[in-house]
Amino acid sequence: MTKKERVLRQLEGKEVDMTPVGSTTTYAVKAFGDACGYPRPQADTDPKAMFEFALMGPKLCGWEWVKAMGWDIVPLSEAMGVELGPPTPETQYYVKAHPYAESLEGLEFPSDFLSRGRFPVYKEQFRLLKEAVGDEMCVFGESEGAFTCAANLVGTEQFMKWMFKEPDKVQQVLEVTKEAAIAAANFAFDCGADWYVFAEPTSGPALLSPRFYKKVVLPLEQEIISKVKGPVVLHICANTDPIIEMMCDTGAAGISIEEKADMKRAVEIANAKGVRVFGNVATATTLFNGTPEECYQEAKAALENGTNFLCPGCGVAPLSPLENLKQLRKARDDYFGVKSEWTD
């Protein structure tokens, strides 16, 4: 079974020889940039550099698929006019100012959306990736989801209060970001993506109650996913235990969860609904701050708890040591008793 077959079959819920391993979140790892000679921030904006950087996950860590669309979760926000703070080799693009904080006047989905921001860069990076490794490996695209993008447009604090005070405004913004999310995901599928990740940190229980998730976010994601032409993976950070079922009811093919969520329970709920689970080795405490042995043990625990795709639980921190990141593959190969065909 090739790694592409393994990953695709697992995504469809078919039998596989072993659990695929990789990252379905961003991996802006500094060591990757150093190794390929295309460090960030060059790899944040230059398609060739972004392409070379992306290949370092498989090359250096034995990951079995590859990521397109850059190393941050602000592509939609950027194309919608959000001002970003500058990235460095150690930090990612971030939201600096909210263009619609004062007023929603002029807020609409721009007809040239896919030529804005870094979408032209992503298009070229997709082309390079598909040409170079498309036959042997899956490629996925990722951006923030519609809810997180909406909060970026008006400011998260204000957006949170609007949930109570101005529900009409919440819907007004979401109508626009919904279009943006659908357009971005379908763009990725047109470029040959095998799946698309919506990162929705702002919609998770770290901020929003499950009550609001049910009322506002669930119908939003359901509509978006029904209009997207390929499989969607929904990533939400922090402890998502209270909303796992709803995440699965969005129509997503997969959900991606952190170490704070209960993997075993998530797999039981999700797989019964035909949804796959990605995760959940801790990015801050373990992959970034822990020892290789701790990374190995946590990866093993994720496998024991039944993860369908062994992955970091969230975006990988830039200064995470390479040796730590390699433990995912090592743990997977040991767990399934296979001699690793991968050497870096």
């Binding site: 802006a28 703070g85 150690e90 930090t91 990612q92 971030y94 939201v95 600096k96 998260t156 604090e157 949170m160 209060k161 949930m163 109570f164 005070k165 229980p205 770290a206 901020l207 929003l208 109650s209 609001f212 950070c237 922090a238 209270p242 990015t283 801050a284 405490t285 970034f288 701050n289 969230c314 975006g315 921190a317 830039p318 200064l319």
Partner: protein, 232 residues
Amino acid sequence: MANDRREELLKELREGVVEFDEERVKAAAQAVVDEGLNAYDAIMNGLAAGMEEVGELYDQQEYFVPELLMCADALYAGLDILKPHIRPEDIGATAKGQVVIGTVQGDVHDIGKNIIKMMFEVAGFTVHDLGRDVPLEKFVEEQLKTDSEIVALSAMMTTTMMGMKKVIEMIKEKNPNVQIMLGGAPVTSDVAELFGADGYAESAGNAVQEAVKMISNLRKLQNQGQQEQKDS
């Protein structure tokens, strides 16, 4: 009779905060002022007590961030009315110290920071808020300028969290006695310890308790130092 009225208004303030009813809080706060009741008492046993209950609801996952923010607005509405009427003797007995607070460079997430700031203010600390996306050296400058006992740093992202380590080193180099508290989603007590911080706030309620503990430790150290100087 006055005591009954006091109880009644404290209850209004408390419930107004918990149910995030700004108008109710404003009316009760105005009544406290108009009827000449103790404003500090109303803040501590009305507004702050309400926020304490909100903290419990948050811990029980009854309330989430939108609810917390709405409650904070209600609390501030009352605080604005009551604060000018606090008597100096109330403050003198309870003034707790000064805090420099901010979200570190590269990070614009300030909801948690603002909630912690509010808890400090209500508890009687003087708060120097540097805002969000704060250049690291600004924390050092502000601490030196204000001679604050505590510097509270917040980061919401694993990437920006690294900035905290640098700030701690910079501050401790200039002034080893400053107490540094960390908070934010990726921060754990292990991270705080690893970075050389003195305290770690898991939640808003816990932040103020930590701060009070840190200041009393600091005062103990200072007293010891003075004692040692005297002895030698």
